[in-house]
Symmetry: C2
Subunit: 317 residues, 2 copies
């Protein structure tokens, strides 16, 4: 699925929210862990099964109100290969429920190795004529510190399967400035990455001008940017500077960003960005102090609150 499909799903739901699936086994409702350990013992398989049961319930609770989910690869890798199997099952189930899936892997390598990452997460692999899908997400986050050699091979995979990437620009964490804010010829590094995203989208369109990108396929290209909710003025600056770059905005909720902070990420049509919330939705039952067995209901209530807050701010701009 492409950025254009994601935009359509956002419009259909009237909700520019992506729910992060960052399930830390040690924080899951205890009944899920107990059930999994009864079945598989004190193993990685048990932990991965608890994560998978948790995700399934969260997806069921959210699939008619959010357009997308974003599994965070680290929490699946933490559970070894059974965790990676849970990632693959989660993505397949999310697709079955009509959701757009962004794997947050922040991958970055070069040449054939980058192509392997992109095929792993966004494409296919051939085994003696059989075409297989290793993980099958619609989008992958990318760390472009290695330059174009780390992005163009991924775009080849995206073009073949109509998938997309989000390149890290300005991340939401306190120390993001150590490298990203440094000035290069008077411009911060994150803004240079933003410019490169516009350039890479253009190249992916076959080198035609960005104007034709706009005329032919809608305004937004295949290369999105990660720009954090915790830096609203940089968000505003990037939105103005990068008219063809769709934003993935982390840092809402648990990391401190609010609906007003993310408003500058959107264009004048309320398009052009999707806001991530992970912990605030996943662990809403803890904040609500409701029965842990109602974790999915609490997640849905929190996601609905977030939708309302975002729409209130967007409508009153």
């Amino acid at each position: 699925m492409s950025i254009q499909t994601l935009r359509k799903k956002i419009a259909d739901c009237q909700n520019p929210t992506v729910a992060g699936l960052d399930p830390d086994f040690s924080k899951l409702p205890s009944f899920l862990c107990r059930q999994a350990i009864e079945r598989y013992g004190k193993t990685l398989e048990a932990a991965a099964d608890a994560v998978w049961q948790f995700n399934k319930a969260i997806i069921n609770a959210l699939c008619d109100i959010v357009p997308a989910v974003k599994p965070q690869a680290a929490y699946y890798e933490l559970l070894g290969w059974p965790g990676m199997r849970a990632l693959s099952e989660t993505i397949a189930y999310a697709h079955q429920k009509g959701l757009f899936v962004i794997t947050d892997g922040k991958r970055g390598d070069i040449g054939t190795t980058m192509s392997a990452y992109a095929r792993a997460h966004l494409g296919t692999v051939e085994v003696d004529g059989s075409i297989l899908t290793p993980f099958g997400a619609d989008a992958l986050t990318i760390n472009a510190y290695l330059g174009s050699d780390g992005v163009l091979p991924a775009l080849e995979v995206c073009k073949a399967r109509d998938t997309c990437i989000f390149v890290l620009g300005k991340t939401s964490n306190p120390s993001s400035g150590e490298i990203q804010d440094k000035l290069v010829d008077g411009e911060p590094v994150y803004a240079m990455l933003g410019d490169l995203c516009e350039h890479w989208s253009q190249m992916a369109e076959g080198g035609t001008s960005l104007l034709s990108l706009s005329a032919n396929k809608g305004r937004y290209g295949m290369v999105g940017l990660v720009a954090g909710a915790t830096y609203p003025s940089q968000l505003a600056e990037l939105r103005q500077k990068l008219p063809h770059t769709f934003f993935l905005v982390p840092g809402y909720g648990a990391q401190g960003g609010g609906a007003k902070d993310v408003a500058p990420a959107f264009d004048e049509n309320g398009d052009g960005a999707i806001i991530n919330s992970s912990r605030a939705i996943l662990y809403a039952w803890q904040k609500e102090q409701c029965d842990e067995r109602d974790f999915a209901g609490a997640a849905r209530r929190e996601a609905l609150r977030m939708k309302e807050n975002l729409n209130a701010v967007l409508q009153n701009r």
Copy 2:
């Protein structure tokens, strides 16, 4: 295992080579693929089994002449969760054969997410009191574009398990300069990352001075740097500037770097760096045009040639 153990293994082998395990299923000896498909059908399990059989033979052929192997995570992810199982089996087998294992994952995230990556690859996870090892490597490559928030959580894991990280500085690819060579206050970004490595090693030692790092634990800290063989003058500059930072040097062999190019990575004792070669060793049978069933023998012959070439240059400096 720590950087100090790696240095000891290098000295014992008299060989500063790490053999990259980047097994692209489509390039493996055909008899291995046929055997695996006979056993598992045209599946990801088959591809992962061929990779595992290949790695086992390569490890058997190299374990008495190289100190370390470096599996490239992308090629395992490409085969989905069965590929990740092959990664875990490969690491366990390499340890059994006494090798130091660097997982080349170029991971980078923040806070608890970065901690999850580090525990996945370098640490342990607890399931109801049971301490489990998801992948269990000795070192992990890290992309530090997110700053200290993406490094310090990994160092906490390293301290607990005596493992280490290598931060991307100057990578070996042609487009590395797009971001890494940009000047910040007159200094390139890659050199700034190098300075940060010295700083992070110092912090990991509990904030004592680098002098005490040198006095107490040998000259090299827990945070190494990736610096490419294809940029020898930058290698020389970094070696002089970063006396406590061990280098992982990619780009030898297939990417064009030779023994003379990597010589500047070493200190005056011939210590301080390890040189990676992946494709030239793994696919040596193709270059030799020998029987594909002798792929492991060809890999050993190529690794011995590389050892000779490196030692010749190091002894004649």
